[in-house]
Symmetry: C2
Subunit: 224 residues, 2 copies
DNA sequence: TTGCTTATTGGTCGCATACTCAATAACATT
DNA sequence: AATGTTATTGAGTATGCGACCAATAAGCAA
């Protein structure tokens, strides 16, 4: 990426450099795994000496934790955008098809595409690594809460709009996410044969808990 | 555990020593994590020099893989015994209840008890570590298949006995296990607050898929 | 008892990690 | 243009890992 001759220095504002380091670490963690976020690895990525990374993050654990948060925050915004993208007048739009259902359908479709396998790997990675790194654990817990809240809000929106029937959106959100985590647990082992019942379990759970017909959240988009 | 003065040698038959090493490694992996299965750590456990462990396992990956299999095999036999343990009077205990349901109830009860948290941790650990260690990955896949088959057999038994109603025992087994893996994903992070809906998701899924009433597989034993 | 096989030891080597710290040079301010 | 701040380097320490190998001694067989 960035290659400079030895000895050449590029001096940046601390805030910018720090952000740059976290971003590089997040990329490494997402693609290669969180245990590959090492001072040297991140430094190489930026064309910088390892000592510099160590200067900004005296404890490596902190860097791993922040990198995880940065990565998952970006992923969440892609999978479950806070506001349906480019919708100034959504209250009028969803009168026909219902945007809440579209949001969930989009979520399940993206999540089961191979493009987001790295996200599944990252979560699996982080949940295990949290066993040893308390700094990371805190960030993982915070992200779990954030994802759950975001999902709950999507469900609540659909319920209030009359699209879903759900007595306890919070509990449903939890269960749907648990089902997703169960499916993504197999990402490194039986990923190929997970095809049939595994991938669709989360979607099935969601449809059942939201009072929707089977297949209502399927990618195809054809509703009943 | 085993402490000998330095220099004192205890010479054992290769097969016995090897088995001993795997057992010690399995214990370390179960309690402290698979990445703690190191030549030195296992050697310490046995009161033996590290070189010896390296002699029996020229590639450390092999030891980790075998240790995982040893640990999960033992756990599976405890959770889902091939034949109901001490089956002298269980048919009387569950009087009229049917033993297949008792087997599953026992499984869910044990699995959600804190005593088996280490088992959940081990699976989470192994599934992530499989990303980097191909030897381990093969063993994990084999164990996934074994657990699934064992669960499928329990379901099939109940179906044939008329206790359950299930069209596709295999698919149901898969889904139940996925739900369990989803719940155990939180073992290192939100373990304390997983109380409410997380733990019981797997049981709920099982009850629904087997045509049982809600709570039919609950620990208490009181159905309907 | 003597001898032989080999399980076991003790040490070394190379590599990778996090972390520390004095010296240096880039940039902003004067 | 001179100066001061500080971001950045380079080198060093300490720890841990797997892997390798000659020397040793334990236990069996003759």
């Amino acid at each position: 990426m960035t290659s400079r001759g030895p000895g050449k220095r590029v001096r940046k504002a601390p805030a910018e450099r720090r952000h740059e380091i976290v971003a590089a670490a997040a990329q490494v963690g997402l693609v290669e795994g969180l245990e590959c976020i090492t001072l040297r690895r991140v430094a190489d990525e930026l064309g910088v000496r390892p000592g510099l990374v160590g200067h900004y993050f005296p404890a490596a654990d902190t860097l791993v934790a922040e990198a995880f948060t940065a990565a998952t925050m970006a992923d969440l915004d892609t999978l479950l955008p806070e506001r349906p993208d480019g919708s100034g007048d959504h209250s009028r739009d969803d009168s026909g098809d219902g945007s809440a259902r579209a949001v969930l359908r989009r979520f399940f479709t993206l999540m089961s595409s191979t493009e987001f396998d790295n996200v599944s790997r990252l979560w699996l990675n982080a949940r295990h690594l949290s066993r040893y790194r308390p700094g990371l654990r805190e960030h993982v817990i915070a992200q779990e809460l954030l994802w759950c809240t975001r999902m709950e809000r999507a469900i609540t929106a659909g319920t209030e709009a009359g699209e879903f029937v759900c007595a306890d959106p919070r509990a449903t959100a939890v269960r749907v996410l648990v089902a997703i985590d169960g499916a993504s647990a197999y990402i490194n082992t039986s990923a190929e044969q997970r095809g049939a019942p595994i991938t669709h379990l989360a979607r099935t759970v969601a449809e059942a808990e939201l009072g929707l017909g089977a297949g209502a959240l399927e990618p195809a988009g054809e509703s009943s």
